[in-house]
Amino acid sequence: MTRDEIKDMILEIIEDIDEDAEFDGLDADKPLRDQLDLDSMDFLDIVMELRKRHKLQIPEEEYPELATLTSCVNYLEPKLKEA
């Protein structure tokens, strides 16, 4: 997957969690939780969806890598290179 495809996938997963999520003006380098109505359970939903879609097992200590959209893409890009 390309970086853009990964970004779109993350936004699609978030939209599936909260269809009212507003992405206009979203700063890719700021924490998603500060900008969207997301809490820790929602982050676990993202982790679960990545597991379901791509069999990705993300260790708990690496959850902080999913904090911002940019960090998500950076973290997932090598893992989803072949996807």
Binding site: I17, D18, E19, D20, D37, M41, L44, D45, M48, R51, K52, Q57
Partner: protein, 417 residues
């Protein structure tokens, strides 16, 4: 009989509900039951043939976002809607009562069955690898779930919990609310019952295995308590939440009063896992009458529990025949014939279906009663068409459940004294 002080008299001041057949307000529900319109349809079920069922269609996002409905349970979704509607109906915005002095008591027949079945089904798509089991499972399946979802939605910080009492649970929660108000534990109570049972194939399959699941080519004819051709229960979802207040405060704020809780009782058969027992039901009815200071003949409407099973209906009729042996003015009806068996919501939904009788003087009919079972022939049974009375003073609601639990609630027309 001495009249208790207004601070210990408990009144119903608001009703929020959703019932099978598209009734989402008390007025719509009353219209449905007076019209004799069945709310039963056919439901496709996982792993088994379709079955008749009562399904609700209400504005699920009226009181909370879709995101919260996705995270929570169907029970929570129904509960939040019913609680929001009950508050609006009662005209309460928490300027009248402190949220920390408000209690939420919700009756449930069961909880967690639907969520567990769904999750097992989910991991079946992943070769039963539990890495795919949802982190939402525990908060969804704790037994206080729907009551807790209501408190989160309303910011209520007083006590909340579920009352598990099989199909007597709605009444049990109503009784719990009364008791907590009388004890002074809370100043305001939201109480009622909820059923999400239609989401569980296992509940249908278990009733079928017992030979107690209704079948009929026409789902609207499937729920037929007291009829010779009845063949079981129609499972329904639904919810009903009442606002309960002490009379003195209700009067002080000028609340509309639907009725006063006159008496209530619960007891146990202590006999059998599933079979009901008329003599104990009769004891429960007598206990509620005694506590209400009423004689059997003082009851205007008996709203029966009968579910459409062969033995259950007959046992209840035996109990009623014994207690109400000489009560020519008493009428008997059954709401499940219209909406099926809403399990934990049954007692309160069925009571709600009858509450407006205090103002319109109508007794809604039992439908699908085409060939009365002689063993269910009760004097005063209202069938086919509603009956108008000169006055409705009291409603006695029965709700009984598995493992031998009985409940009776008596509501009387409010008369200030």
């Amino acid at each position: 009989m001495s009249i208790p002080p207004d601070s210990s008299r408990i009144v119903i001041t608001g009703v929020g509900l959703t019932a099978p057949g598209g009734s989402n307000t008390l007025a719509e529900f009353r219209q449905q039951v007076l019209a004799g319109r069945s709310g039963i349809t056919t439901l496709d079920l996982r792993y088994m043939d379709p079955a008749p069922a009562g399904l609700c269609d209400f504005p699920e996002t009226q009181y909370r976002k879709k995101k919260e409905n996705k995270r929570g349970t169907r029970s929570g979704c129904i509960g939040v809607y019913c609680a929001g509607e009950a508050l609006a109906d009662a005209g309460i915005d928490f300027s009248e009562y402190d949220r920390s002095r408000t209690g939420v008591y919700i009756g449930l027949t069961e909880h967690g069955t639907v969520e567990t079945e769904n999750e097992v089904y989910n991991i079946s798509g992943f070769d039963y690898n539990v890495d795919y089991w949802t982190h939402h499972h525990n908060p969804r399946t704790v037994l206080n779930n729907p009551a807790g979802e209501i408190t989160m939605n309303l910011g209520v910080t007083g006590p909340h919990y579920s009352v598990g009492a099989a199909c007597a649970a709605g009444n049990a929660a109503l009784i719990q609310g009364c008791q907590m108000l009388r004890l002074g534990e809370v100043d305001f109570a939201l109480c009622g019952g909820i059923s999400e049972c239609t989401g569980s194939f296992g509940i249908f399959a278990s009733f079928r295995a017992q030979g107690a699941l209704a079948e009929n080519n026409d789902p609207t004819m499937a729920s037929r308590p007291f009829d010779r051709d009845r063949n079981g229960i129609v499972i329904s979802e639904g919810g009903c939440v009442f606002t309960l207040e002490r009379l003195d405060k209700a009067l002080a704020r000028g609340a509309r009063i639907y009725g006063e809780i006159a008496g209530h009782a619960m007891n146990s058969d202590a006999r059998d896992f599933v079979l009901p027992y008329g003599p104990r039901q009769a004891e429960c009815i007598r206990l509620a009458l005694d506590r209400a200071g009423l004689a059997p003949a003082d009851i205007t409407i008996i709203n029966t529990h009968a579910t459409g099973t062969r033995q259950g209906d007959v046992e209840e009729c035996k109990a009623l025949r014994e207690v109400f042996a000489d009560c020519p003015g008493t009428r008997v009806n059954n709401t499940k014939s219209l909406i099926g068996h809403a399990m934990g919501a049954a007692g309160v939904l069925e009571l709600a279906a009858n509450l407006p009788a205090f103002t319109d003087n109508q007794v809604h009919a039992t439908i699908n009663l085409d060939n009365l079972d002689p063993d269910c022939a009760l004097p005063g049974l209202v069938a086919g068409e509603p009956e108008e009375l000169s006055n409705v003073d009291t409603i006695l609601n029965t709700s009984f459940g598995m493992v031998g639990i009985n409940s009776v609630v008596i509501v009387k027309r409010f008369v200030a004294k």
